[in-house]
C-alpha cells in the first residue's frame, strides 16, 4: 500500500446520518472472493432504480458530483456490519477520504487498513461542509501530517487520529510484517501466560 501524506480532491455532500454498511455495499455483492471491483455496487439500492437505471435523486448521481474523491456525510457513518467490502467499494469508486462527525468503530478501522482516511470533525464544521457541498462540489485539501482540513475559502479544521494509525498510513506499512517482528514476544506469551497452556 502506498503512503498517504497529503491529498486534494473534489468533495461531495451526502447529508445522511447512520449510513450503514448494508447501504454502502448490499449483501448480494459480498459473495465475491476478491477485494477489487466493488465500486460499481457502491450504494447500490440508492444509486440505481429497480430497472437498473441511475436514480437521479441520489446525491452522487448529480452530474457535477461525478468523479468525487472526498465524501462528506453525517454522524455514525459506517455503522452495522463489519464487512470490509464497504471501504473496498468506496475506494474502488474513487473515494480516498470520508469526513463525518463520527464513525462506527469497525468501519473506522477498516478504512485505515486500506489506506483510506476517515476524518472526524465537529458537528458544526461538518454542517458547514455539508451545506457548501449541497450547493456544489468543492475542492478540499487534507494534510495528514499536520492533521488539517482546508477548503481554500478560509475553512480550516484540525482533526484527531491516533499517532500509530497516522504513522501506519503515512508510511503505507504492512502491519503483519511489523507484528511478526514481535514473534518472540508472542511465543513467550503463549508459553507463560496463556491459561489454555498453563492451567
Amino acid at each position: 500500500m502506498s503512503g498517504f501524506k497529503e491529498f486534494t480532491g473534489k468533495a461531495v455532500a451526502m447529508d445522511r446520518a447512520n449510513v450503514d454498511t448494508d447501504q454502502i455495499i448490499p449483501k448480494q455483492f459480498l459473495k465475491r472472493i476478491e477485494k477489487t471491483g466493488f465500486g460499481k455496487y457502491l450504494f447500490f439500492d440508492w444509486r440505481y432504480n429497480a430497472d437498473g437505471s441511475e436514480n437521479e435523486q441520489f446525491e452522487l448521481n448529480r452530474p457535477e458530483n461525478k468523479g468525487a474523491s472526498i465524501l462528506i456525510a453525517n454522524e455514525n457513518f459506517g455503522c452495522g456490519s463489519s464487512r470490509e467490502h464497504a471501504p473496498w467499494a468506496l475506494l474502488d469508486y474513487g473515494f480516498k477520504v470520508i469526513i463525518a462527525p463520527s464513525f462506527a468503530d469497525i468501519f473506522y478501522q477498516n478504512c485505515l487498513k486500506n489506506g483510506m482516511l476517515p476524518i472526524p470533525l465537529k458537528q458544526e464544521q461538518v454542517d458547514y461542509l455539508l451545506e457548501k457541498g449541497k450547493k456544489q462540489p468543492f475542492v478540499v485539501h487534507i494534510n495528514l501530517e499536520e492533521q488539517k482540513v482546508t477548503d481554500g475559502d478560509g475553512f480550516e479544521a484540525e482533526f484527531e487520529i491516533h499517532a500509530y494509525w497516522k504513522k501506519m498510513l503515512i508510511n503505507g506499512w504492512d502491519e503483519i510484517e511489523i507484528t511478526l517482528q514481535l514473534k518472540d514476544k508472542i511465543e513467550e506469551f503463549e508459553k507463560t501466560k496463556d491459561p489454555y497452556t498453563i492451567l
Binding site: D22, K31, S102, A104, I106, L182, P195, L199
Partner: protein, 470 residues
C-alpha cells in the same frame, strides 16, 4: 479500587505495550466464516504466510448456505465462496464445520454450543455480531478482513483500549417481556451510537436471572448501539452451560478453569467510564418500525411524529424511514400488517427461542397470507428441537421448518422478503434492503414474531391468554 471484567481480561492478554502504540492483544479464539475470510487467506498465500494457531481457529459456513435443498446451490458465486472456504481450511489446517457437519450452524450459535466460547477468552470473528460471545464473560468483537488476516498470521491484534460502560438492569421483567425486548428498549432509549468506543458490561438482577441464551441475545445486539463488545460476568449459569460441552475443558481441568473463571468477574467496587441504570419493570414487548434498531417502540404505543424530534437530521431520518417502511406518523404499532415472519438469526435462533415461538403457536394456525419461516441456528439446535417435537408444533401451525444458517437475517441466500412487504423478524437489523431490496423489517422477540404470524399483524402478547406460559 476494584477492576471490571473488561480490565481484567484486557490486562491478561497484552503481549506488547509501547508508548504511542495501541496494545498488541493475544487472541484465544478466532472464528471464521465464508464471507469475510477469502481475501484474508489470499493475503496469507501471497506473502507465503501460515496460520499461526490453527488450533485456536475454527470455521463454519453460515451466511449464504441454503436452508432448503442445501446441496443444490444454484448461485455459482455463493457456491464458489463456500468451496473456497473448504479449500482454505484444508490448505491451512483449520477445522471446519462444513455443510455436512452435524455441528454446522451460525458461527455465533455454534461457538457457545460447542464450548469453544469460554469466560476470559478474547474472541474475534469477521462479523460484527461476535459480541454475542460476551454472554460468557469473554471479550469478543467483530473485525474486518484485514484484521482477520492479521489474526490468522499472528494470533494477535493491535487495539486501543476501549472505554467501559456498565449497564445495570435492576428489578424483574414482566410476563411476556424477553431479552430481545430488553436490548430493543435500550436501543430505543439510547440510540444507535451510545456505545461507540465502549465495551458494555451488562449487569443487575435482570441479567443475573437470565439464561445463557437470553444473555447471548442481549450481548449480540451491543453492536447495534455502536459497542463492538458487550459482556456479562460469568457465574454458575455460565459454568453449568459449559460443563461437558465438546471443546470445553473436561473433568478435573474443568473445575480448575471454573476457579480461574470466577476470578474474572467484575469486582463489587469496579470503576467504569460510564454507568447506566434501568428498571426491568419499565420494559414492554418492543417492535421496530423504522430503518435502524433504535427506531423501535413498545407494541402498545404509536409511531413517533415529527414533533417528537428536535433536530433537523432526526426529523429527516424519521421522514426517510417512514417513506421506506410505508408507514405513517402516529400510526398504532398493532395496526401494522405483516406478510412474512422470520424466526432465526444469531440473535434468536437457539433452543429457547424456538420453544418460545412454539408455545405461542401451539394448536393455532398461521394467518392466511402470511409466510412464516423457522430457521434453527445450528444443526444441533435443529436436532434438539425435533427431539422435543417443536418442529411438529410449528409445521402443524403452518410454519416452514428449515436447515440452519443466517438465512433471512441478511438474505444472502434464497430466503428473501419481496419489495414492499413487511416481515416480523427475530433478527438484529432493520436496515433498508437488509432482508431484500425494498423489504420492510420489524425487529421483535420470538414470541412476538410467532403471535404476529397467527394474527397477521402485531399483537401485544401480554394480552394473549397464553401469556403465563410465554
Amino acid at each position: 479500587m476494584g477492576k471490571s471484567i473488561i480490565d481484567k481480561i484486557w490486562e491478561k492478554h497484552v503481549v506488547h505495550r509501547e508508548e504511542g502504540k495501541p496494545d498488541l492483544l493475544y487472541i484465544d479464539l478466532h472464528l471464521v466464516h465464508e464471507v469475510t475470510s477469502p481475501q484474508a487467506f489470499s493475503g496469507l498465500r501471497m506473502k507465503n504466510r501460515k496460520v499461526r494457531r490453527p488450533d485456536k481457529t475454527f470455521a463454519t459456513m453460515d451466511h449464504n448456505v441454503p436452508t432448503i435443498n442445501r446441496h443444490i446451490i444454484n448461485d455459482e458465486i455463493a457456491l464458489n465462496q463456500m468451496t473456497t472456504l473448504e479449500k482454505n481450511c484444508a490448505e491451512f489446517g483449520v477445522e471446519l464445520a462444513g455443510i455436512d457437519s452435524p455441528y454446522q450452524g451460525i458461527v455465533h450459535v455454534i461457538g457457545p454450543e460447542l464450548g469453544l466460547t469460554q469466560p476470559g477468552k478474547t474472541i474475534v470473528c469477521g462479523d460484527s455480531h461476535t459480541s454475542t460471545h460476551g454472554a460468557f464473560g469473554a471479550l469478543a468483537f467483530g473485525i474486518g478482513t484485514s484484521e482477520v488476516e492479521h489474526v490468522l498470521a499472528t494470533q494477535t491484534i493491535w487495539q486501543n483500549k476501549p472505554k467501559t460502560l456498565k449497564l445495570e438492569i435492576n428489578g424483574k421483567l414482566g410476563p411476556g417481556v424477553s431479552a430481545k425486548d430488553v436490548i430493543l428498549y435500550i436501543l430505543a432509549k439510547y440510540g444507535v451510537n451510545f456505545g461507540t468506543g465502549y465495551v458494555i458490561e451488562y449487569a443487575g438482577e435482570v441479567v443475573r436471572n437470565m439464561s445463557m441464551e437470553e444473555r447471548m441475545t442481549i450481548c449480540n445486539m451491543s453492536i447495534e448501539g455502536g459497542a463492538r463488545a458487550g459482556l456479562v460476568s460469568p457465574d454458575e449459569t455460565t459454568f453449568e452451560y459449559l460443563r461437558g460441552r465438546k471443546y470445553a475443558p473436561q473433568g478435573e481441568k474443568f473445575d480448575k478453569f471454573v476457579e480461574y473463571w470466577k476470578t474474572l468477574a467484575s469486582d463489587e467496587d469496579a470503576e467504569y467510564d460510564k454507568v447506566i441504570t434501568l428498571n426491568g419493570e419499565d420494559i414492554a414487548p418492543m417492535v421496530s418500525w423504522g430503518t435502524n434498531p433504535s427506531m423501535t417502540s413498545p407494541v402498545d404505543s404509536t409511531i413517533p411524529t415529527m414533533e417528537d424530534y428536535k433536530t433537523e437530521i432526526e426529523k429527516s431520518s424519521l421522514k426517510r424511514a417512514l417513506e421506506y417502511m410505508g408507514l405513517k406518523e402516529g400510526q398504532k404499532i398493532e395496526d401494522i400488517k405483516i406478510q412474512h415472519v422470520f424466526i432465526g438469526s444469531c440473535t434468536n435462533s437457539r433452543i429457547e427461542d424456538i420453544r418460545a415461538a412454539a408455545k405461542v403457536v401451539k394448536g393455532k394456525k398461521v394467518h392466511p397470507g402470511v409466510r412464516a419461516l423457522v430457521v434453527p441456528g445450528s444443526q444441533q439446535v435443529k436436532k434438539q428441537a425435533e427431539e422435543e417435537g417443536l418442529d411438529k408444533i410449528l409445521t402443524e401451525a403452518g410454519f416452514e421448518w428449515r436447515e440452519s444458517g443466517c438465512s433471512m437475517c441478511l438474505s444472502m441466500n434464497a430466503d428473501v422478503v419481496p419489495s414492499g412487504e413487511h416481515c416480523a423478524s427475530t433478527s438484529n437489523r432493520n436496515f433498508e434492503g437488509r432482508q431484500g431490496a425494498g423489504a420492510r423489517t420489524h425487529l421483535v422477540s420470538p414470541a412476538m414474531a410467532a403471535a404476529a404470524a397467527i394474527f397477521g399483524h402485531f399483537v401485544d402478547i401480554r394480552k394473549l391468554t397464553t401469556v403465563e406460559s410465554v
